[in-house]
């Protein structure tokens, strides 16, 4: 109970729970869309999803400043590639929040003469750009870790043992690919934070891809991916050791 209270007292914790609920509703609506006799439940789920979405837009009103502060911090990193990727990710996320705040103002009626569709597309584009930057950072970190690992003598012994294990197995057609995958799996096992972050960003990527029309999946896939990334987000927040640093 105490841990739950502590988790929800963080503004981010609550936001992630609401996001998970929102995408769980979206997924359930998609799965129940053709079931007869479940129409009332679908209506309730839709109103719950709309309530979560509207509420979250209001909570996010201050997040532009958060992102700009994060960008200021990442500009001081020593590694050049990390500095570029993270600062760009934070700046585009700040732009996404600006568009999101404008959309909130439009929904509420404070700002009248803005084109809702155009601003919504801009928000999706900024979000997509920030996800691409985050993914580039993940790939860079994984490649760095892999090259570090490959140079490690102890690991090379392990890899040789693995490669010489079953030379007659048909699956090992390309030994280089096998070595690469073995190395990759080693990294994922030893650095769960990087793996979780990569998975989260890949799942998140489906949302703007669908919205912008680049890769149209259906509402079910979007809901499922959103739910997975929200759950990963909750895990990273609850267990700080799973959070990728910086």
């Amino acid at each position: 109970m105490d841990a739950v209270v502590q988790f929800t007292s963080q503004s981010q914790g609550r936001d992630r729970i609401f996001r998970a609920t929102q995408y769980a509703c979206a997924l359930s609506i998609y799965l129940l869309r053709n079931k007869i006799g479940r129409k009332e439940l679908v209506v309730k789920l839709k109103s719950l999803e709309a309530a979560m979405s509207a509420g979250r837009k209001l909570f996010r009103l201050g997040n532009t400043i958060n992102s700009i502060e994060a960008a200021k911090r990442t500009m001081q990193l020593s590694d050049r590639v990390l500095r570029l990727c993270l600062t760009a990710a934070n700046m585009t996320r700040a732009l996404y929040f600006v568009c999101d705040n404008a959309l909130w103002g439009r929904n509420v009626g404070l700002i009248r003469d803005i084109n809702k569709e155009r601003w919504s597309l801009n928000a999706s584009r900024c979000y997509f750009a920030s996800l691409v930057m985050s993914l580039s950072r993940d790939v860079y970190v994984i490649l760095q870790l892999m090259s570090q690992r490959a140079r490690d003598r102890h690991f090379r012994q392990k890899m040789d043992a693995h490669l010489n294990e079953n030379p007659e197995v048909a699956g090992v057609v390309i030994p280089q690919l096998d070595a690469f995958l073995f190395l990759l799996l080693e990294i994922i096992k030893s650095q769960p934070a990087v793996a979780l972050d990569t998975l989260k960003n890949i799942c998140d990527l489906f949302i703007p891809l669908d919205r912008l029309g680049i890769y149209r999946s259906n509402a079910g896939v979007v809901g499922f991916c959103g739910l997975i990334s929200s759950l990963i987000g909750i895990v990273t927040l609850a267990q700080p050791k799973f959070k990728i640093k910086p």
Binding site: V4, S9, G13, S47, A54, G55, V108
Partner: protein, 260 residues
Amino acid sequence: MDSWVRFNAQSQAKERVIRAAQYACTLLGYTLQKGGAAAELRKTIGQLEAHMSLTRKLLRLGNSVEALESAKRAIHLSDSVLRLCLTISHLNRAMYFACDNVLWAGKTGIISKLDMKKWSERSFRYYLFALILNLTRDLYELRLLIDCEERHRASKHPPSPHPGSASADQLSSPSSSPVALNAPPVMLAGLRRQLHLLATVLYSNPPLLLDLLKNSCDIFIPLDRLGIYTTGSGFVGLCGLTSSILSILTLIHPWLKLKP
């Protein structure tokens, strides 16, 4: 900027800011109505206020649990009056949040056919009880501090045994004149002394002062909504805005929070 980020990270802080904005909208709506502004603007402000109220209800979805945890902690206090007041106040707050959650479910359409008025009155009743108990606790602490301050002053300037002698005791009333003419000045001087004591105690205990002000402002909201003492939406908006600003101050400077 950094302090904003830290402030924003607390979920309670966001809820307080939205509360301040909500009551500012109430106040604004009242002034616009008095000033005869356009119906369109009033409608927008009204809708904004309703939207913020609903979002705050969403944000408070987990608060029953927090209030129950606070009640569990308050049971272990040593002072019996404080223990009673705080535990029951937290339990009432937990009930208020539970009713609030039901109201949210009704407003968003998850529970259909909900008697909104009944549940709204219920939630305001629990809120009123919690505020009354908080005020009782504040007055009890004030009483304790005043007694303490009186004893402290009495020990520093012991009262002289002869009422007629020129005493250095600033608390003693002038008593050289006949008793019959003394009564009103004695009463006035006594009242002045009490007020001076009160002012000193409150000035040296900003957490208590803040909490007292906050609860006094807050109590007008359920009193108005339940119809016990209607003051109008303008006054309610002003009280709500003041209490929200005071609680934001408490969040920014944690030393201003009344403990326990």
